[in-house]
Symmetry: C2
Subunit: 159 residues, 2 copies
């Protein structure tokens, strides 16, 4: 499971975490868990729908500290239990092309590998061009996805 | 393999053809074959690249009768030999969101079922909204995909 990433168009978060892959997988694939870790506080994920199969919907609704809601309707592309989860914001349910206005679109690949008693966690987020990747980075990708992963790990330890 | 299609956003071509599913599959997945049937004459498909796996590239270059070339870089989503082929123009190689300007984006699902000595052939083309589906229909979807299928069947009979 190695990927050649494109440093100009991809954003990558790679970390060893001390919870096993099956718990990380559960956190990423169960709506009740996703709502607890997916957005760094004080943002919230107030709704979530998961149809865990290629072509199935991955829908979340994020709420800002000011109460504004941001719905996201994505689509799963690859689902390999405890190993690999791929979803994209460029398609919606049933692989239908996205029409909702978004500042940029991306596809996320979440790769999990056993590492001792923990997990080597790799998130690769691919964008259409450098401009989209830069916008995502400027919006705080590394800080945001890093804090969310902290929340995921804290939650996994309670499972 | 039944799909609920959306009559406003999907275009569908369904036909019984008198060649077996494995030959239709070969015609859809080998570049040397694709170049022979993919575009209704006098249009030509002058180049083609196939990386037949989810996330792999499906690239074609079409040439108009006037000699203008139209490159298309799509991405395979599902590959089930002799049964189901799904690819989208909304993503490129490695599930990267599309950036090339296009009048509309679509995802194509090609479904093959044995039918006597032939094949029940179903192409479902899903669009983001009604406007995109209408543009595709106005550009001659049914006539174009129908003529291309005639060419595919004629080619398959020579295999």
């Amino acid at each position: 499971m190695t990927y050649e990433t494109d440093p100009k168009r991809d954003l990558v978060l790679e970390r060893i975490v001390d919870v096993r892959p099956n718990l990380v997988w559960a956190a990423w694939t169960r709506p009740d868990y996703i709502k607890q870790w997916f957005t760094p506080v004080p943002w919230q994920t107030v709704d979530c729908e998961v149809d865990l199969r290629p072509g199935g919907i991955f829908r979340t609704v994020m709420r800002s500290p000011e109460g504004q809601e941001f719905p996201n309707n994505g689509c799963y592309l690859e689902v390999i239990e405890n190993r690999k989860l791929v979803w994209t914001a460029a398609l919606t349910e049933g692989y239908r092309p996205q029409t909702a206005a978004a500042p940029f679109l991306f596809t996320a690949m979440i790769l999990l590998e056993p590492h001792g008693n923990g997990t080597k966690y790799t998130a690769i987020v691919v964008h259409g061009d450098e401009d989209a990747a830069k916008k995502h980075a400027d919006m705080g990708f590394h800080d945001g996805w890093g804090k969310a992963l902290d929340q995921l790990v804290a939650l996994a330890k309670t499972m």
